[in-house]
């Protein structure tokens, strides 16, 4: 059957509507290893969108100085976002750390509003009040980028508590890095989540470096998934460069959580090609190490699968690349043309109470 390009007005719109194929519905087989053409094309397009967004915004940060603040790129970790999206439903909640661009875009926060947020514009996904580390999209169940290492582990369990309390079968995907695995909140939360069998999947995106400190230098226990043992929590290690592996492991964990089986810890081994943040000179690792991982690049892997299986031709893939690039270019234009927040926004969104008597002098 000849490949028909997916006819979407834009990926932004498509993601917002969640019209891509889901595999995690009631008939979902979590052990399925056969993924459809649509799955691979969706993964490819999403991962390219995240990567191109990051590359473009990094350029705007470094070249134009139009993006400021602490900026943490998701490049290299895209397969996690891809596999988690197909392994969950739109009703499921995501909450993550400050390395939040990729997951926000995956969940369906519009690319325009993400870029505008980086620019600090009123049209940003947090009205220009959050910046790079604090993307939000409550309407698409993206509960934000959180800036205190590990804090969202506990808050995410709270989101899951509410789902359990209301007796839904929604689950929370709660992301954190390997650095956060050394925070006390992780242990308190694991204990409570297992005690109460909360529907939360703890996803440790282990990119091997807590800023500049390698995992080996942060603990005697270098296998982070083993931290679950102390709480008798199911745990798994996952190849984070493989969207298929992420999908399958997330699918198993999600199924368990939906069936009231409680939380899971997934240690997803990934690699960030870029520094911890944009200002990181990366003197703690070699170029060879980075290159080794780039050889396993998740986007290239999916691209190869698509070509090998004739899911699409080179030309059609190039068309996807072009479409993604256009979306990102458009988002820059949107961000640049958007207005700054009004100055009187300083005292807005601080309280829900609209009559709060702020101290002003």
């Amino acid at each position: 059957m000849p490949f028909k390009p997916v006819n979407f007005k834009s990926v932004t719109r498509r993601l917002k509507l969640h019209s891509f194929p889901y595999f995690c519905g009631s008939n979902f087989n979590p052990l399925a290893t056969k993924f459809s053409k649509e799955t691979y094309l969706y993964w490819y397009e999403l991962m390219q969108l995240i990567r191109q967004f990051e590359l473009m915004s990094e350029e705007k940060y470094k070249m134009d100085g139009k993006i400021r603040g602490f900026y943490h790129a998701y490049i290299g970790q895209e397969a996690i976002a891809a596999g988690c999206m197909t392994g969950t439903r739109p009703e499921d909640l995501f909450i993550t750390s400050y390395r939040d661009h990729g997951l926000a875009i995956a969940k369906g926060v519009s690319v325009n509003s993400c870029m505008a947020e980086l620019y600090g514009k009123a049209t940003g996904c947090a009205k220009g009040k959050g910046g790079s580390m604090h993307f939000f999209g409550k309407d698409v169940n993206f509960y934000g980028g959180h800036g205190i290492v590990g804090a969202q582990i506990g808050t995410g369990a709270g989101l899951a508590f509410a789902e359990q309390y209301r007796d839904t079968d929604n689950v929370v995907l709660c992301y954190f890095g390997d650095g956060a695995a050394r925070q006390g909140i992780l242990h308190e939360t694991f204990n409570l989540a297992m005690l109460w069998k909360l529907p939360v999947i703890f996803i440790c995106e282990n990119n091997n470096y807590a800023m500049g400190t390698s995992v080996e230098r942060t603990s005697n226990v270098v296998d982070i998934y083993k931290l679950a043992d102390a709480y008798e929590m199911p745990a798994d290690t996952v190849d984070g460069m493989s969207a298929e592996a992420v999908h399958e492991s997330v699918g198993r964990a999600v199924k368990r959580a939906r069936e009231k089986g409680g939380p899971t810890l997934l240690e997803i081994k990934t690699y960030r090609y870029k520094g911890h943040s944009i200002s990181d000179p990366q003197k703690y690792r070699t170029k060879e190490e980075v290159d080794e991982y780039k050889d396993k690049d998740p986007i290239q892997q999916v691209r190869k699968t698509i070509l090998d299986n004739k899911f699409a031709t080179e030309k059609e893939i190039t068309a996807i690349d072009k479409r993604v690039y256009d979306i990102v270019v458009e988002s820059v234009k949107f961000a640049e043309e958007s207005p700054w927040p009004d100055d009187d926004e300083v005292l807005k969104d601080v309280y829900m109470d609209k009559n709060y008597p702020f101290i002003v002098d």
Binding site: G144, G154, F161, A162, I185, E188, M352
Partner: protein
């Protein structure tokens, strides 16, 4: 009809009434359920509402605070009890960095309607780590409200208001030493709006402002002063943030003198803020410097005489009032 009930019962009635009204409200904390509350505030609540809504937690302040905050962000209305606010310091990251800031950081998308409550301040010879009064520290934080009632009647109305109508995080400061205090509480349901001070005693010579259990000192001093024909007006702040400074200013316009009694440490305390506000708004009305009595600028020690020496009392308040009246001998 009014009944005389203990402070702890007033708090319990507030929670019971709101939990009967709204399924989204639940109580969590250490010993709140099977033990019936470390200070028996939640006595009988497990029996009425069951373990889904009255939830014992392990000793894990940061963890259960985080769960409460996340639950509030996702549509529930939690009440989180701390055995004492001294232990909540372990959870300050969730209160300061998540609960108070997420509405702003998310551009208004993620709110956090939650009530944190528990005993606060000194409660006898408990040593330094169980004796801190935290109103000033929390009142410094934008995005949250701080309530610190002095009696069961106010406590019930304010707590009901916080649970039902406040969409922002509320820090509700009680006192272990007041849980047994009796007050008159009507049978009828009532709410008390946050941010409104209460003039507990009318007077014309000097204004005394206080809150929480230090209101006993303020009212005690006023009674002593009355014997010497000094008429003190006594104001109970009830809510610390937002601060009802207008009520204080109106009183000072009448008395021209202001004394503040609080259990905070002195540096950047509630009295510091009141003093700034009243000198700015009421400079021309003041006939004497604004004065205050705070807790000593030190951790609270154990020995009974050291506790007494460190905390405000009636005698020192009376003496200070006489100083601002220029009657000190």
């Amino acid at each position: 009809m009014a009944r005389s009930i203990a402070f702890r019962e007033a708090l319990r009635e507030a929670m019971n009434e709101e939990m009967r009204r709204d399924d989204r409200v639940f109580l969590m904390g250490e010993e709140v359920a099977e033990y019936n509350g470390a200070y028996k505030v939640s006595q009988g609540m497990l029996a009425e509402f069951g373990p889904k809504r009255v939830i014992d937690t392990p000793i894990s302040e940061l963890g259960f605070t985080a769960v409460g905050v996340g639950a509030a962000q996702n549509g529930l209305r939690p009440i989180v009890e701390y055995m004492t606010w001294n232990f909540a310091v372990l959870a300050l990251d969730q209160i300061l960095n998540t609960a108070s800031k997420m509405l702003a950081m998310s551009g208004g998308q993620v709110s956090c309607p939650i009530v944190f409550r528990g005993g606060n301040g000194s409660a006898g010879q408990l040593g330094a780590q169980h004796s801190t009064a935290f109103e000033a520290m929390y009142a410094n934080i934008p995005g949250i409200k701080v309530v610190s009632p002095s009696n069961g009647y106010d406590a019930k109305g304010l707590l009901k208001q916080a649970i039902r109508y406040e969409e922002d995080p509320v820090m509700f400061m009680e006192s272990e030493q007041m849980y047994g205090d009796k007050s008159e509480v009507p049978d009828e349901e009532y709410y008390i709006e946050l941010g409104k001070a209460d003039v507990k005693k009318q007077g014309k010579d000097v204004t005394i402002v206080s809150f929480n259990k230090m209101m006993k000192v303020a009212l005690g001093a006023a009674a002593e002063l009355e014997k010497e024909n000094i008429s003190a007006e006594v104001i109970d702040l009830r809510t610390i943030r937002p601060l009802d400074w207008q009520t204080i200013l109106e009183s000072v316009k009448k008395t021209n003198r202001l004394v503040i009694v609080e259990e905070q440490w002195p540096f950047a305390s509630i009295s510091s803020e009141i003093t700034y506000r009243i000198q700015k708004e009421g400079f021309d009305y003041l006939d004497a410097p604004i004065r205050r009595i705070t807790a000593a600028d030190a951790p609270l020690h154990y020995a009974p005489n050291l506790v007494a020496a460190a905390l405000p009392d009636v005698a020192r308040t009376v003496k200070l009032v006489k100083e601002v009246m220029y009657q000190a001998k």
